[in-house]
């Protein structure tokens, strides 16, 4: 399928926001404004943005952890202020300050997160079962990484999704690095792709350039069409690069992989900008204007998040927050 000009411009704008907000998050972590941690998705923003931007309003999302769901939230049209307020430990955060780094955005089909990578592959199966039995054409976007894809849950999840023809699009952000271990040291698949694993369940697998937001958007759009038509799940593997260390503020400790610029010449934002400029959809001036808009948006996020009252835990409050009534 071909993206319309409007879609391309929208993707570029969302990608720009994702990239600049990840940079902002890295600054905030170093300043101590972000209380827990930040796992930067610098270099990988095009995957979540491309995938999440092409969903339908009532689709469900399980996001990949890197970037803490920022790209996915932005692709869904969600409000990044609430993500940052949450990271700042504010009561006005998307989880009232009680999670510290998870996204809760039900209107975007995001109902929470959990940091045991692989557990989301099960929850996504539940989302898929829910979508299928409701019969209203909903689909599920299930983000995961190349590390997640070696956990046992992948087998269970792919198997169940294929067995029951669940409308799930798996979006694997393969950056070739699992914390500090190269993917080649973790995965036995002969090609290095997850294709063989996925296709063994009869699930179509597609490999796409994760640095190209338009390619990701097209691949996920095609996959969603397949899933919504009742043909079952699809696995989109986006090859990408992690520009920063595993966790912001810690040195990049990768040991056995060569320490050259890992794909730094394939920055997703530059690729998207060059493409749209060459197609006449953008000019340098327009890009500058967009950068200024995003800068203003981030300033507003900053003001909102810093000014907001802290989440102050009390015993009574925490006891009350343990159970739903």
């Amino acid at each position: 399928m071909t993206l319309t000009d409007e879609q391309k411009l929208s993707l570029f704008r969302t990608l720009l926001r994702a990239c600049r907000m990840d940079e902002y998050a890295c600054r905030c972590l170093k300043q101590g404004a972000i209380k827990l941690f930040w796992h930067s998705s610098a270099g990988m923003e095009a995957v979540g943005v491309g995938g999440a931007s092409v969903l339908a309003p009532d689709d469900y999302v399980w996001y990949h952890y890197r970037g803490h769901g920022l790209s996915y939230l932005l692709g869904r049209g969600g409000d990044p202020k609430l993500l940052f307020a949450e990271h700042f430990g504010k009561a006005s955060g998307c989880a009232q300050g009680r999670s510290g780094y998870h996204i809760v955005a039900p209107e975007a089909g995001i109902f929470g997160f959990f940091g045991f990578l692989g557990s989301g592959l099960g929850v996504a199966v539940g989302y898929g079962m829910s979508a299928k039995r409701r019969g209203e054409g909903q689909a599920v976007l299930c983000g995961l990484g190349d590390g997640t894809a070696t956990r046992g849950n992948i087998h269970e999840s792919l198997n169940m999704a294929a067995l029951w023809r669940l409308p799930i699009v798996y979006l694997c952000e393969n950056n070739g690095m699992v914390v500090h271990t190269p993917q080649s040291g973790t995965y036995a698949g002969p090609s290095g792709d997850y294709r063989e694993l996925v296709e063994s369940y009869g699930i179509p697998a597609r490999v796409v350039d994760g640095q190209d937001v338009f390619a990701v958007a097209e691949a996920v759009t095609d996959a969603l069409r397949h899933a919504r038509a009742g043909h079952g799940p699809v696995f989109v593997e986006a090859k990408t690069f992690r520009f920063h260390s595993h966790t912001e503020g810690q040195a990049d400790l990768r040991y056995s992989a060569p320490r050259e610029a890992q794909g730094l010449d394939r920055d997703p934002l530059s690729i998207a900008r060059a493409r749209l400029i060459s197609e006449g959809l953008l000019t340098e001036e327009r890009v500058d204007a967009l950068e200024k808009e995003v800068e203003a948006e981030i300033a507003e996020i900053d003001r909102f998040s810093r000014d907001a009252p802290d989440f102050v835990p009390t015993t009574e409050g925490l006891l009350a927050a343990t159970y739903a009534s």
Binding site: Y60, R98, G112, G120, V123, G126, M129, L163
Partner: protein, 326 residues
């Protein structure tokens, strides 16, 4: 009134909930054929879309149940009790934490059939202490069929994750159980035998042991037996009122004696009733060793009537301060 056993009571409650709410689903391995009979025939009535056989994949099945619960459904996830450990992260970390972390309800009922017994840890875990330590997980332990039906209805209607366990040695006993739907609230213990001299607090299969022990000592000791019915929420007021009256307490748990319900209750009772207790609180639970398979489990490892009798007697043999005996 008809008499039913716990299996039939569970099936009754499940069927009634599924009939009244099309969002209620039964999910697990071989639930269509119904290994224990807890869902016998339900697939014929409600269809395989609502009574769902899953592959052998506990972890992802439990995760899927959470996903369904988050998006408008009410899943009943059935496990042989021990095998719930194969989905530990989902049942004991994700589900109980979800409300605190995300303010999103997870109305998931995990139906554990057949905890306890002698099948070694792969068949005979009683995951109650573990459940207590999670926080955020309600825990229901019916001792009889009447309670089993009412408590399960409450569990399914509860917007929170509920762990519901029917101990293997309670499954066959029959009591009178009405055909219609009824609920029993959580956090309401029942005094199943009133007494004056010592309180035995217990649940699940421990109720039968306690009642037998109470009979055995009835000539010289008047034993009050409390059936907790739910251990989270726990009906502490009833327990403390009883111990304040009797001034002696024995706690009988089906789980390991160390670090679980028995230890927790003993500590809470000792704290609250320190001034009035005439003897230390006794606790009885499983020996703190992995459960061996074969009959060594039932005959030696798990609590038995003799232990309860001994504990009751031990609380009455006290160097009482003259004048303090009520």
């Amino acid at each position: 009134m008809p008499t039913k056993n716990i299996i039939q009571a569970i099936r009754d409650a499940t069927r009634l909930e599924m009939a009244r709410d099309p969002k209620t689903l039964l999910i697990g391995q071989s639930v269509q054929g119904s290994l224990f009979g807890t869902g016998a025939g339900l697939v014929t009535e409600f269809g395989p879309e609502r009574v769902i056989d899953t592959p052998l994949a506990e972890s992802t099945t439990a995760g899927a149940a959470i996903g369904l619960a988050l998006t408008g459904y009410r899943p009943i996830l059935e496990h042989i009790a021990s095998f719930s450990m194969a989905s530990f992260e989902e049942l004991f970390l994700l589900a109980p934490s979800w409300q605190m972390l995300h303010d999103q309800a997870v109305p998931l009922t995990t139906l554990l059939v057949g905890g306890g017994g002698s099948g070694s840890p792969d068949h005979s875990i009683v995951p109650l202490g573990i459940g207590l330590q999670c926080a955020g997980l309600k825990i229901v332990v019916p001792s009889n069929a009447y309670d089993a039906k009412g408590l399960l209805a409450t569990a399914i209607a509860d917007p929170n994750p509920v762990l519901y366990m029917a101990h293997i040695h309670t499954l066959a006993d029959r009591t009178e159980v009405p055909d219609e739907r009824y609920t029993i609230p959580f956090g309401q213990a029942k005094i199943v035998r009133p007494g004056e001299d010592v309180t035995v607090v217990t649940s699940s299969f421990g109720v039968k042991l306690a009642m037998r022990a109470a009979e055995a000592v009835a000539e010289d000791i008047s034993v009050e037996v409390i059936d907790l019915r739910t251990i989270e929420p726990l009906d502490l007021p009833t327990v403390l009122a009883s111990v304040t009256k009797t001034r002696r307490a024995v706690v009988v748990d089906q789980d390991i004696n160390r670090g679980g319900l028995a230890a927790e209750l003993a500590a809470v009772i000792s704290d609250a009733c320190f001034e009035t207790l005439l003897a230390p609180v006794r606790r009885i639970g499983r020996l703190p060793v992995p459960v061996p398979g074969g009959l060594a489990g039932d005959l030696f490892i798990h609590p038995n009537v003799e232990q309860v009798v001994d504990a009751i007697r031990a609380t009455t043999i006290v160097a009482a301060i003259p004048g303090r005996r009520g």
